[in-house]
């Protein structure tokens, strides 16, 4: 390579071509441009006209300059100019380039690749065959042309582990087996790992070894630990340099699920130390959402610490003795627990049988005395396996015989019968306060508010073991909270209720703090290899060398013991592993990691990475020449008048320029405008809500739809005349298209041939039902089949209603509120008189109170009414108000029509007023009170 003015040329003799430029200038000047042939009728007028000047139009000087510049650029480009040429080309023969390619190299990977590229380019120019050896993924040495390797550079990526012993041994074997000697360039990551010496020896046996490394310390993050209410993270560095500040970022998801930095905490390496520790106190709720910690501006797998179940939200199952559907919320046994736990734990509700398989971290039993043997053994197993059972006392526990004679395995203490009440109306003494927590208690140090008093409790039997098990006591020494361990788990009993009936404890902040202390102790501990033995863990997400998580794809499962202790490698990658109910994070650095800098034999030259990369200019110059020639084409055409009409000229110019510059043509894209609100939908909404409006579902059968419409008109008129409900003209709604929320009542005639609504329509229908809407299904077949599948309409009804969220149904009971919302009715005829009508079933515990005419039935409105009496047929009127269809015979028929209208009135009243008439069950009581 010859170097002229700081630029190297690979074929400098080509520059002689520049001497030919003046000759070219004269040549181009002399040749006139080719004539244009034009068809022109006016040529007759031109005949005989001679040119004033016998010289043709010359090519203008600027066009000449353009052409000369293009030719010059071609000559220069072909001469192979190189900016910043590498001059220290030493050695001949094959070259081996060794890459550590582990995670410590990830932060300055681009520099390494640039250096590698430079060395390959150099070797390519010197004609040396090159082999590349990546230690984290060794392959047999292949000495090839440098260009082959350069084309493969983009595929190189650092691995998330350090070279393992096997890999190093394989590499050393390959090096020793090479046929001829070679020089070696080693791009080191700067970190020591076992087995390196053997490879160094093998390489030095073959030729000269030269090492390149950054000289910067390698930084790493240890796994996060949760201690004393804060998250502790240990930071490591490979060289004890001067004091250094780094920032640890806490990555996680915000409540909307978007990944973001939740917190950042600074950490400081003191001068001369290689390890430091930083603590981060996060609210439990925030802590539960942390997914990883990482060093700011330091992309490598070692600078990332994944979190697993240890910091996750705990699952707490809440089970109470009595579920009170209509009870007051503040009296609910679980209310305060829910309030206290909701921010920091995932709450599970349900029956014990259903909850145990979910394996919650904590199970809370509020005032549950007796458990079935099956439940008891399952629960014991669960506690044995590490669960935490939290029990609260209550009237039931006090009244039961649980743990009376001998200690129940699921109770921490034996109980005396009956419990005690202090400070009540019928007892002596004042309500008791809490004694300070002993130091051995998990509650130690919590301040005790003065207003926490206990007025009732269950009492523990004095036992030899009692003193050890008390973790909180009252001022008189009686236990308030007791605890015992059972297998790997524990059982905790609060001797008061979980609500405020027996004490004010649940009302105070102390309750939350106590729960938190208890719940924290139940968090998952890092498992040991012994516990994991024999289990198989499936990788969920694995890290690459840059610390980015990727889907694990089809990576095979990993043995539990290996996961805990084996060194990382291609078979065990750092990442998240799933083992059924829990997840484990395997981080690059273990808790006791030490980063050792790589040391080299003293006679091996070690260089830094920093050097200016070579920049070949040939391509740039040739591209410039191409652009200039394209411009020349345009300019020549323009001069000769052969360019297209001006309007197209610009577009063509842009196209040519874009082509020459290798750019994609400018992409024109319509700006996305927000979709305008659907005017039709708005209008529909305004029309439907201006007045109360009854609606029927369009079935697609014109005759049925017309009758339904007429029926709705008839019912609307009747309502208008008789009641304060004044509906406007009814409409038919299309379930697919129209919004349903505006209509209190949907009349849905069932025809065998109507299409099944789409899933989206069912979502709408279910929303409608849940938000208080009512659908009146009418099979119009007099219920001849008893809603079996025997009639086509019945079958269709079953098909239509299957995806709907419909509660259990029953035939309208005699005391249903539907029988008295406006008229007193017991039959609900339409055109057919005898069909049964079904509504939501009353709760099983509804009992008739003596002296009351009807039961205190459930709240709310039945979401569906199902019958087959063809009500719309009976209600239908024509434009003049005359009935459309005959009902029954004679006067009896008219009576039946009247009753059917009354049913309609009652139905709409029921929809609009709910159980208002049912509330009249309380009237005697109210009158009684007023009388006092």
């Amino acid at each position: 390579m010859t170097i002229l003015a700081g630029i190297g040329f690979t074929s400098p003799w080509l520059l002689l071509g520049l001497l030919a430029l003046p000759l070219l200038w004269l040549l181009l000047r002399a040749i006139p441009p080719a004539p244009v042939r034009r068809r022109f009728p006016g040529v007759a007028l031109l005949l005989g006209l001679s040119d004033d000047d016998s010289i043709s139009d010359r090519t203008p000087w600027w066009l000449m300059l353009l052409r000369m510049a293009a030719v010059a650029a071609v000559i220069l480009g072909l001469a192979g100019p190189v900016l910043n040429p590498q001059r220290d080309q030493t050695g001949q023969g094959p070259l081996l380039i060794v890459l550590d390619a582990g995670w410590p190299g990830a932060p300055r990977w681009a520099d390494r690749i640039a250096l590698l590229d430079g060395q390959l380019a150099e070797a390519g120019r010197a004609g040396r065959p090159v082999a590349l050896l990546s230690l984290t993924a060794p392959e047999p040495l292949q000495f090839q042309s440098a260009d082959v390797w350069r084309s493969r550079l983009p595929g190189l990526a650092p691995a998330a582990w350090l070279p393992t012993g096997d890999q190093l041994a394989a590499a050393a074997r390959d090096a020793a087996a090479a046929a001829e000697d070679f020089d070696t360039h080693w791009l080191s990551d700067g970190l020591d790992y076992p087995g390196r010496d053997g490879l160094i020896a093998a390489l030095r046996a073959k030729g000269a070894l030269r090492v390149y490394e950054t000289g910067q310390p390698v930084l790493g993050l240890g796994p996060a630990r949760f201690e004393d209410g804060a998250i502790h993270i240990t930071l490591h560095r490979s060289q004890p340099g001067p004091a250094r500040e780094v920032t640890v970022l806490t990555q996680g998801r915000d409540p909307a699920g978007t990944p973001r930095v939740l917190a950042s905490v600074p950490a400081r390496f003191e001068a001369g130390t290689t390890e430091t520790d930083t603590a981060l106190a996060l609210p439990a709720e925030l802590r539960a959402r942390v997914t990883r910690f990482e060093l700011q501006a330091h992309r490598s797998a070692g600078a990332v610490s994944l979190t697993d179940d240890g910091l996750k939200r705990r699952e707490v199952a809440l089970i109470a003795g009595r579920e009170d559907r209509e009870g007051l919320e503040l009296l609910a046994p679980l209310h305060y627990l829910q309030q206290a736990l909701k921010p920091s734990a995932d709450l599970l509700h349900g029956a014990l049988d259903d909850l145990l398989p979910a394996n919650p971290d904590v199970i809370v039993l509020a005032d549950i005395a007796t458990l079935s043997p099956a439940e008891k053994s399952a629960l014991t197993d669960w506690v044995d396996g590490g669960g935490m059972l939290l029990r609260f006392a209550g009237p039931r526990l006090a009244a039961s015989d649980v743990s009376r004679r001998e200690e129940d395995p699921l109770m921490p203490v034996r109980l005396r019968s009956g419990g005690r009440t202090v400070g009540g109306a019928m007892s002596w003494g004042e309500p008791k306060t809490l004694a300070p927590f002993p130091d051995s208690s998990p509650f130690a140090g919590l301040p005790i508010p003065a207003d926490v008093t206990v007025s009732a409790q269950v009492m523990a039997q004095p036992d030899p073991t009692l003193a050890d098990r008390v973790i909180a006591a009252l001022s008189d020494g009686t236990p308030l909270v007791t605890r015992k361990s059972l297998g790997q788990g524990q059982v905790v009993l609060f001797h008061v209720t979980a609500n405020a009936e027996w004490s004010t404890l649940p009302l105070s902040g102390l309750f939350v703090q106590m729960l938190e202390r208890l719940a924290v102790t139940s968090s998952a501990k890092p498992p040991e290899a012994r516990e994991l033995e024999g289990t198989t863990w499936r990788p969920v997400q694995v890290m690459d060398g840059f610390g980015t998580l990727h889907d694990a794809g089809t990576l095979p499962g990993v043995d539990g013991a290996a996961l805990a202790e084996a060194p990382l490698g291609p078979d065990l990658r750092p990442g998240l592993y799933d083992g059924g109910d829990r997840r484990l994070a395997r981080n690059v650095l273990p808790a006791d990691a030490v980063l050792t800098p790589a040391s080299w034999p003293t006679d091996v030259p070690v260089e830094t990475l920093s050097r200016t990369p070579e920049q070949p200019l040939g391509g740039l110059l040739l591209a410039t020449a191409l652009i200039l020639l394209a411009l020349d084409v345009i300019a020549s055409l323009a001069l000769g008048g052969r360019l297209m009409p001006p309007r197209r000229r610009t577009a063509a110019l842009i196209a040519v320029l874009a082509l020459a510059a290798g750019l994609p043509a400018p992409e024109l894209r319509a700006q996305e405008t927000p979709a305008p609100p659907d005017a039709a939908a708005t209008e529909f909404a305004i029309d439907a809500t201006r007045e109360l409006m009854l609606a029927h579902v369009l079935t697609g059968n014109t005759q049925v739809d017309d009758i339904a419409q007429a029926g709705m008109v008839g019912l609307s008129d009747t309502l208008f005349f008789r009641t304060s409900i004044e509906p406007t003209d009814p409409i038919g709604v299309d379930l697919e298209r129209d919004e349903l929320a505006f209509f209190p009542l949907l009349y849905w005639p069932v025809t065998p041939d109507q299409p099944r609504p789409s899933d989206a329509a069912y979502v709408k229908l279910n929303d409608y039902l849940r938000s208080g809407g009512m659908i009146l299904f009418d099979t119009r077949d007099a219920d001849i089949a008893g809603f079996g599948a025997a009639s086509p309409n019945g079958r269709k009804l079953q098909e239509l209603a299957a995806p709907l969220d419909i509660p259990p149904l029953e035939p309208v009971p005699a005391d249903h509120v539907l029988t008295r919302t406006f008229y007193l009715l017991q039959v609900f005829p339409g055109r057919h008189a005898n069909g049964q009508v079904w509504v939501e079933a009353a709760p099983p515990d509804a009992e008739q109170i003596e002296g009351m005419p009807f039961r205190n039935l459930n709240d709310g409105v039945t979401p569906v009414v199902i019958g087959g009496n063809d009500w719309a047929g009976a209600w239908a009127i024509d434009r003049n108000g005359n009935p459309l269809l005959p009902v029954g015979r004679g006067l009896t028929g008219e009576r039946q029509r009247e009753l059917s209208l009354r049913f309609g009135v009652n139905l709409v009243m029921h929809v609009l007023t709910g159980n208002y008439k049912s509330d009249q069950v309380h009237v005697p009581a109210l009158l009684d009170r007023l009388g006092q």
Partner: protein, 299 residues
Amino acid sequence: MTSAVPPVVAPVAGLRARAEAEAARLPPLLARADHLAGTVLLGEHGRRRAGMGDDFWQYRPAQPGDSRRMIDHRRSARGDQQFVREREWQIAQSVMLWVDRGASMRFASSDRLAEKIDRARLLGLALAILLVRGGERVGLTGTALPPRRGQTQILRLAEAFAEDAETDYTPPEHRAMIPHARAVFLSDFLGELAEVELALTKAADRGVRGVLLQVLDPEEESFPFQGRTIFESIGGTLRHETLKAGDLRSRYLDRLAARRDRLQGLCRATGWQFSTHHTGDSAQSELLWLYRALDRGTA
């Protein structure tokens, strides 16, 4: 072998349809009739004055000199006065068209402009339709298609227009001109001027008046050429090479203006009218001008 239909049918139909469309936009045109001409024939449209014709015009009181047979007895019997029934004077005019079919007319400087010949034929046929609708007789100069009335004549004209000539410049046809008729010549008039002069003189001798419409392409007016160019006529018979086309522009334009002056002079001398139409302009306005030019002097 598959079809005996001449291939010109489709273009003819298209030309006629477009001409009909152009003509539909103007009111029926009534050509000016020369009172002196003996060629005046009775037509369907009245002259808005009493005269010979079939349609009733007015009753006027009988005057001395009216023969007794002229008295309209039905009207006169209603009163004491005697009335004469007058009829409307109805006449028809003959108009002869000549549309240059030379190769020089088949030129359009860009895809968006119509060829000159196409525009000339469109104008000619539109005018013919208007005239026929007005009850006039329309035909071509020469003996090929003498003036006749009726829709069939439009079809014949359209067919006659579909023929092209191979020579670059064709002289105006001036044979068999009907005396005192009217004539319309549509051409670019880039050919030999002596021929035009001969035709016009001959027409003037026979009392034929009319309109010369020069149809030109915008490029023929602007001459926007540069550089070394070889100009060729459309038929390929003429060619002219220049090294600097831009230098020829002013001299070319001078010659074009001189030629136009000459044509205008000729028209003035013979009582004809002259106008220039560019294919880049609207055909409608030009048809309007033709309508006015033919209608000029009408009572």
